[in-house]
């Protein structure tokens, strides 16, 4: 299963509320009930009751808290009081992991996405055209859209994305860090394509890359668009 990390930079209620609210508002369908591990390492020493209140804020904003990480500042009392397992995040730290959308670091933006192998979940199939202003997210699996994805629409998946009409909107595959995710489309004329947090905007997609039967892949940090 893929787990995202929510890094807290403050326990100040107002600041935290604003930051969490802003992050949730960015993509409510994607974030709601998203399993997250709260990374408290950056907070330094904070009294346990304050941490509990901060965790409650995280829950109230719709994130599904499944564990906490405290690194060197780990304290058993917090784990006990919160009833959440204390996890040790191995490998690279959360800040090095790709975030779904690169955003300048703000006061307390929780950062997301650390890749862990995924469990197979059924593919989501959408038989309606995805219209401007709509957002469709296939949690934990692949997404198939049999019609077009309009300009101003957004499709996201934890796995691959297939579009059997024209892709004119945004497509974000592997949004929780799966860098091997692909985007397949019958015709590519996208506003943005993203894989595992790396993305290319319309301006960076040259005319030759647009066209019929396209495959979007990620190698290293570069998004490749090729003909299938």
């Amino acid at each position: 299963m893929l787990v995202s990390i929510l890094r807290l930079h403050t326990v100040d209620a107002a600041e935290l509320d604003a930051a969490l609210g802003a992050r949730m508002a960015e993509a409510p369908e994607l974030m709601r009930d998203m399993p997250v591990v709260a990374d408290l390492e950056g907070l330094g020493p904070v009294p346990v009751p304050d941490l509990l209140v901060a965790l409650e804020h995280v829950r109230r904003h719709g994130f599904k808290l499944i564990g906490i990480h405290q690194g060197a500042t780990a304290t058993e009392p917090l784990a006990e009081a919160s009833g959440l397992p204390l996890l040790v995040l191995g490998g690279k730290s959360a800040s090095e992991a790709p975030a779904p959308r690169a955003k300048p670091a703000e006061a307390a933006p929780p950062e997301a996405a650390a890749p862990v192998p995924a469990v197979h979940t059924p593919t989501r199939v959408v038989n309606q055209p995805v219209r401007s202003g709509q957002q469709i997210y296939a949690r934990g699996g692949d997404l198939i859209v049999t019609g077009a994805v309009s300009a101003g629409a957004e499709v996201l998946a934890d796995g691959h994305i297939h579009v059997y009409g024209t892709l004119r909107g945004r497509a974000l595959a592997g949004v929780r860090g799966l860098v091997s995710a692909h985007i397949f489309c019958r015709r590519l004329d996208a506003e943005l394509v993203s894989i595992g947090g790396h993305y290319r905007i319309a301006e960076d997609i040259v005319d030759g890359e647009r066209g019929e039967n396209r495959l979007v892949t990620l190698s290293g940090e570069t998004i490749h668009i090729t003909e299938i």
């Binding site: 219209r131 401007s132 202003g133 709509q134 077009a148 300009a151 009409g165």
Partner: protein, 269 residues
């Protein structure tokens, strides 16, 4: 049971009110008892296009609030039998359109009329949502240019999720496309999207193509729905659209550039 039809677009100024007046009048001309309702509370225009602005006593909001009954507020069209207009209030705002109130008024209209045409305001806020919420079907009015097409696409997404039928799990209401202000000459020059371009993006059935025409402006200025100007290209195109709406098959006219003959070129056609 009546068919409640919303005329909508998202973008303003594309011809929703002109279309509402033309389709409603066209249906009435075919002997179908029709009411046309102005949902643009605060920016009422339909009465001007229908030429009944001097006979408005009560309006839609009065009926919603119970200040008047439907019979008092409905204006009978003087030119066309079977046609009634329910004007919007000019002094109120869209918040006056309560869900219960709109449902009650449309329910009453549905009992008496065969067709209820709802003229939606622009935008995707309360007025537009209320105009489409109880509709059985939609006619999406679009100009052949990118911003209008995108707004129509957005509106189609809303029609698929924010109508009563959709909220009850019935899916999207049927929607057809009416392309207005179409100019084959400008399409030829690449200055305007073609019918195919628009359909490729919106992927819904085409109800009609109304050519860019001086007749539409004349009709608005004189308060006579353009379908009553039977010799005009736009009037005929609207009548074709009404016939298709009622299930007839009609070829599309005014969609290709007519080559001028030798004399036409000599004398400027």
């Amino acid at each position: 049971m009546a068919r409640i039809v919303v005329i909508t677009s998202g973008k303003g100024g594309v011809g929703k009110t002109t279309t509402s007046a033309a389709i409603a009048t066209g249906l009435a001309l075919q002997g179908r008892k029709t009411a046309v309702v102005d949902f643009d509370v605060g920016l009422r225009n339909l009465d001007l296009i229908m030429g009944c602005e001097r006979r408005v006593v009560y309006d839609f909001v009065n009926v919603i609030n119970g200040d008047a009954n439907l019979r008092q507020a409905l204006i009978k069209d003087k030119r066309t039998d079977n046609l009634f207009i329910l004007p919007a209030s000019q002094t109120r705002d869209k918040e006056a359109l309560t869900t219960e109130g709109v449902e009650r008024v449309l329910g009453e209209l549905a009992k008496e009329f065969e067709f209820v045409i709802c003229d939606s305001p622009a935008g995707i806020e309360r007025g537009a949502l209320m105009a489409s919420y109880f509709a059985d079907e939609a006619i999406v009015v679009t100009n052949p240019e990118v911003s209008s097409v995108r707004d129509s696409d957005r509106m189609l997404g809303i029609l698929a999720s924010k109508t009563k039928k959709a909220e009850q799990g019935g899916g999207a209401i049927p929607a057809t496309l009416l392309l207005t202000r179409y100019s084959p000459a400008r399409v030829d020059k690449g200055e305007m999207l073609s019918i195919e371009d628009v359909q490729d993006i919106l992927s819904i059935d085409l109800l009609g193509v109304i050519p860019e025409s001086q007749a539409v402006l004349n009709a608005s200025n004189s308060g006579v729905p353009v379908v009553l100007d039977e010799d005009s290209d736009a009037g005929q195109a609207y009548l074709d659209a009404v016939a298709r709406f009622l299930g007839e098959e009609r070829p599309y006219r005014f969609t290709t550039l007519e080559k001028k003959g030798f004399f036409g070129r000599l004398f400027g056609g």
